[in-house]
Amino acid sequence: MDETNQNQTEAQTKLNPFEMALKNFELAADLLGLDTEIRNQIRLPERELTVHFPVKMRDGKFKVFTGYRVQHSTARGPAKGGIRYHPDVTLDEVKALASWMTYKCATVNIPYGGAKGGVICNPKELNDFELEHMTRRYTSEISCIIGPTKDIPAPDVYTNAQTMAWMMDTYSMARGEYCPGVVTGKPLAIGGSKGRNEATARGCVFVIAEAAKHLQIPLKGARVAIQGFGNAGAISAQLIHDNYDAKVIAVSDSRGAVFCENGFDPHRAIEHKQRTGSVVGLAGTETIPGDAILTLDCDILIPAALENVITPCVANSVKAKIVAEAANGPTVPDADTVLDQKGVFVLPDILANAGGVTVSYFEWVQNNSGLYWTEDEVNARLKQIIVTAFEEVLLASQKYKVNMRRAAWARALDRVAEALKVRGIYP
């Protein structure tokens, strides 16, 4: 599962988040009044590795692939970030996403820096045999810079637990020792963590609960609309309905949205989607256009699908009191201003969807200690970290009198800057 966001889609990867990351960084740096030297030190990635490697294909031919691994920062700990397989992977994109990981880890205060990797390939054109061989060779190529205390990859776009298993095995074989901590997002059978599959959604719902408490919005009976009904969206719907008695009034997927004024049981929606492939047609609901879900009259809106869906125009019509960004970058920067003016409380992506990377961290901790936790333990620790992170971001927001996004970035950047500062410069 992708720890940047479990719901990455193909469409998303076509959008380069670099500009968005840079803009947020600059705003946060301004807010902190960060020294130019520190800014320059953080702005650029520490390490960029490009590899070109051959893979023997099923038909006996060789094909040369290009891959990257970028470590943006290791100031606060080993670099952490996913590996994506996609034909549109570029070094610039990988660099941007690596920096994003630095701030996300810092926001929730887990001891990691940020990294990202990728291979230019189309997994739909590779069979399992070829995917495995490509993964193993890529792992071998980047093994000089990864490791449990150096850089810990995880799944991302078009990579999954199986990919991580191959990576872990390749690395372990080369080292001649069992190294489960070299990657996270592994299958449970080889050291994966319980609770990881639900982690993004669970973290998102924890942070929503804290926000509601802060805004004095009772979650019981609160009207929730969720755009996207993949892993994060569907599990968020379940959790907020089951654990907080909120009323899920609308959900959507790529085929459209369903709405019911009085709310519906999201378990029914999950079952319907499993049965029919879509939420559309769920009994007792009305079908509405997919994008209409963003502007429904509701208390909580969870965009859990795609980037850039809340434009200034859409933001004008948003009626929710809380927007929790389970997806990466669902709000375009200009729309933030509109939402601020309307008094919408936005829980930014680097906070709202950091549950995934947090449980990745737990996986690594368990691998390193050799002691494995129950799911309840995982969830309790996740709650502790997310709630603390929320409180700290909220404090920063109040301190700097900025919205939660700028506060989160400022809090994250401050932590990275502080680490750099105290560590000093080698040699």
């Binding site: 599962m1 069979n127 078009y158």
Partner: protein, 869 residues
């Protein structure tokens, strides 16, 4: 009211019959055809003297029955065009000629030479005579005595008003009326000795006995020696066989008999007959003949199935060990017409086939009339024996019409196939079976089928409905019966989503359970598309595989005695389906894990049908690849097959080939010349995936439904109506002869109007290009349809299908052209003006100052362009 008496031209005969009446059909059964003209000429002469119009219906090779003078109108018909066309043409003649016309027909016995069976002869008579009766005509027919089955003669006797035997005893001609409707005398039905002076009834018993003994030597014989080839050819070949003679095709007589038998069973398509003749031995044909219920041909679907199996059992590509045994029965095409005739449906069919297509409601009424129809007792007896043979094994009753699955026409999905779970007591099973047959028969008048025939110029073709009754392949699991694997396989792959896939190597649409889910369009559920050249590749990755997998299964519920669709999880509960590990992957820790053993006892909801182990660890795909290549090679043409299959614990694959037909693909015969250097502003759009081939030029009109406006349209009534408006535009007379491109959002014909415009195939079957637009809406890119039954309709009709992604820069979508074109919808169809906001009809030359649009689609290189020139 007295009925006017009509003269026969022979006073003695008038006296015996008490004259003819308007409405009489007079059948002369003669031993010698030379006797018929004697009566026909006398009749015609009298009629002409009485200023009657006389029409001579000429169709046989024998000398003219009456002189073809100017006073007589001769209408020639060709029995070789087939029963259906012959009857329809005659019907038209009778309709045109009108009332009180006198007819003379050639010897009807000649018809069985071409039609093969007495059944059709009787059917012909039974549908023609009542119509002549209605129109107050008088008609003379001849039949050769003792050369037709008792059953056929009995039906003719029941239908006609007058039936007269003419025979000779010791050189003396006798005439003996056997039936004279509504007339009687004490001597009427005695033999009458014909002399020049007067006709004398044979009254003395000894004379009568002598005459009758000579004339009716075989009167009560159970099986008369019918001259119909259906019986006679079979009889002769069987006689050779029973005599222990080798049925060698070196013998000219046996070769001729074989060819005749092939023609009667398989039809007249030269290419197909050549294949059949070269692959079937006489013994094979006799075995097929033994499994025909009734008489007549077995139809295209049955023929394709049998031929494909034969091809694959030949040395060199011997798959006989791989095949499940085949024990199908065939309900001969004559039975269809007998059913129509006996239930007064023939004229209804004629009217519907030649008139406007029936609406959905009208078709329901037609279907109801078919369901109320009855079969003759003799036929019921045969059906009962068939059901006894199958016991309680489920069977499928499949349409197998003459035109179906032939070269150039597939009729895919046009006619019906009905599953019979075949449970219950014998009476219940028979009722279910009869209902299935009637529904298949009714589907001959299905609006989609009629539209398809019209579109392909087949309205006037001989189309008869035979039926293939197949044992359903599969096993019992819990209370359900279904095959492990089923699907369709093509010898060419037009669904190549990757350059690594070789389009020449075929594709398989694979499902678990009954193949209906692979053959039909099933919204929101997906068969596994397997590229034979690269079986492990699939167009999805990761958890998308779960979404784009089969979630439901079609199967026969033996307790409910019905075909049902159930969620996969319900069927797989317990994980004890044999060899399930070959079919599923397991959803575990958020990813799909392929089984490493045979245990599949996980929660059924975590099992996903990927067929991964089947595809990667058994011979299944390579076996199909070889079989498809072998079939294509033998057919000399790409093929399209339907199959069921299973794999045992030793990974041995067993296949049941259910159907095989030529696959028609425009553009496959030669490479498409692809235009280069088109100026960017002249490009309307490009497509680069999942396209079939073709060249459409010039295109004068474009029907365009804007995806954004469609998506925003809240009025469901308007939304639902857009499909029929598209249909009205496409059928508009002003556009007939024009080439039209139709483009709209998402999936054309989807059952959900949110996913695409609600059309039936009949609505859009006259467009030349159909474009499905996947335009991003609110962050969602709608899916286009691919690899559906509907898609094959388009392929076969030569309609170019293109998926276009307007937001993809490679599509070069000409946004400005489509932004606000002049809309001629209201001018074309004024009543559709209220829909102009969402549906635009672009007159391309008017819009572009004289340019026209052109589409070139190259299936081999998966690229297409629509441009202005």
């Amino acid at each position: 009211m007295t009925t006017p008496s009509i003269g026969t031209g022979i006073t003695s005969l008038d006296n015996i019959l008490q004259g003819l009446r308007l409405g009489d059909n007079v059948v002369w059964q003669v031993d010698n055809l030379e006797d018929y003209p004697v009566f026909a000429r006398a009749f015609v002469e009298t009629a002409l003297q009485q200023k009657r119009r006389v029409v001579y219906v000429r169709f046989a090779a024998h000398p003219a029955v009456i002189p073809e003078t100017g006073a007589i109108e001769v209408r020639e018909l060709n029995p070789r065009s087939g029963f259906d066309v012959f009857c329809a043409d005659l019907h038209e003649i009778i309709e045109r000629e009108g009332r009180e016309v006198f007819y003379v027909f050639d010897n009807l016995s000649a018809l069985v030479t071409d039609w093969g069976t007495d059944e059709l002869l009787a059917n012909f008579f039974q549908i023609t005579c009542p119509y002549l009766f209605e129109l107050d005509t008088v008609a003379y027919f001849a039949l050769t005595r003792t050369r037709h089955s008792n059953r056929a003669i009995a039906r003719i006797r029941d239908t006609t008003q007058v039936l007269i035997d003419v025979y000779r005893v010791k050189g003396q001609m006798y005439v003996q009326p056997l039936k004279v409707w509504d007339r009687y005398s004490s001597e009427m039905f005695r033999p009458h000795r014909v002399t020049d002076q007067c006709w004398v009834p044979v009254l003395a018993s000894d004379d009568a006995a002598e005459v009758s003994l000579t004339a009716y030597a075989t009167a009560l014989a159970p099986v008369p020696r019918s001259i119909a080839p259906w019986d006679s050819v079979y009889r002769r070949l069987r006689r050779y066989q029973e005599a222990g003679q080798e049925l060698s095709e070196q013998s000219p007589e046996i070769r001729a008999l074989k060819e005749e038998l092939v023609r009667m069973l398989f039809g007249t398509d030269a290419h197909f007959l050549e294949l059949v003749n070269s692959h079937f031995r006489v013994e094979d044909l006799l075995d097929i003949r033994d499994r025909v219920i009734g008489s007549g041909r077995i139809g295209g679907k049955a023929a394709g199935m049998l031929l494909a199996r034969k091809i694959l059992e030949k040395p060199g590509c011997d798959y006989s060990e791989t095949f499940e045994d085949q024990d199908s029965f065939f309900i001969g095409s004559d039975v269809f017409f007998t059913f129509l005739v006996n239930n007064d449906l023939f004229r209804l069919r004629l009217q519907v086939a030649r008139g406007p297509e029936p609406t959905g409601q009208e078709f329901e009424e037609i279907e109801q009339r078919f369901l109320e129809g009855h079969f003759p007792d003799e036929m019921i007896g045969q059906f009962e024996r068939l059901l006894d043979y199958f016991g309680q094994s489920p069977v499928i009753v499949r349409s197998s019409s003459f035109l179906e699955d032939s070269f150039g026409n597939s009729f895919a999905g046009k006619y019906r196939s009905e599953f019979c779970a075949n449970q219950g007591n014998p009476q219940q099973r028979l009722e279910g079976f009869l209902r299935a047959i009637k529904l298949v028969y009714a589907s001959a008048l299905n609006p989609d089928a009629l539209a398809y025939r019209r579109r392909r110029g087949l309205v006037d073709s001989d189309e008869q409905m035979a039926i293939l009754v197949q044992r359903v392949s599969g096993t019992v699991h819990k209370r359900y019966f279904f095959p492990m694997l089923a699907g369709v396989a093509f010898s060419r792959n037009f669904y190549a989503w990757s350059s690594r896939i070789d389009p020449q190597k075929g594709a398989i649409r694979l499902v678990f359970g009954l193949g209906t889910r692979a053959v039909n369009r099933v919204g929101e559920d997906y068969p596994r598309m397997v590229a034979v050249s690269s079986p492990e590749l699939r167009p999805e990755f990761g958890l998308k595989v779960v979404k784009y997998s089969q979630h439901n299964i079609d199967l026969l519920d033996l307790d409910a005695n019905d075909l049902v669709t159930l969620p996969l999880s319900q069927v797989l509960e317990g994980g004890d389906y044999p060899n399930l590990h070959l079919l599923v992957s397991k959803l575990k820790d958020g990813y799909l894990m392929h089984p490493y053993g045979t245990d599949c006892s996980e929660a059924p909801s975590d099992l996903v049908l990927t067929f991964h182990q089947l595809v990667t660890q058994t011979d299944f795909v390579s076996l199909f690849g070889r079989m498809l290549a072998c079939l294509e090679n033998a057919y000399g043409h790409p093929v399209d097959t339907e199959f069921t299959a299973c794999v045992d614990e030793n990974r041995q694959v067993r296949v049941n080939l259910l159907q095989c037909r030529p696959l028609q693909v425009p553009g496959i015969s030669k490479p498409v010349g692809f235009p280069v250097d088109i100026r960017h502003e002249r490009v309307l759009f490009r497509a680069n995936r999942m396209i079939n081939g073709g060249l459409v030029s010039p295109i004068s009109h474009i029907i365009y439904i804007d995806p954004k406006k469609y998506s925003a349209l809240r009025d469901m009534t308007v939304k639902k109506s857009l499909g029929s408006v598209v249909g009205r535009v496409l059928k508009h007379p002003d556009l007939s002869g024009s080439q039209v491109l139709t483009m709209g959002p998402g999936r054309w014909g989807s059952s959900s109007i949110d996913l695409g415009v609600n059309v039936s195939y009949a609505d859009i079957n006259t467009t030349r290009v159909l474009v499905e637009m996947a335009r991003e809406e609110g962050g969602h890119v709608p899916e286009v349809s691919y690899g559906t039954h509907f898609f094959l309709d388009l392929v076969e009709d030569g309609i170019v299908y293109l998926p276009v992604y307007p937001d993809d820069s490679q599509a070069e979508f000409n946004h400005s052209f489509f932004a606000s074109p002049a809309n001629c919808l209201a001018d074309l169809v004024p009543s559709a003006a209220p829909y102009a906001e969402w549906l635009q009809v672009i007159d391309v030359p008017a819009q572009t100052g004289g340019l026209q649009a052109h589409v070139v689609a190259d299936p081999h290189n998966q690229r297409a362009v629509c441009y202005l020139l």
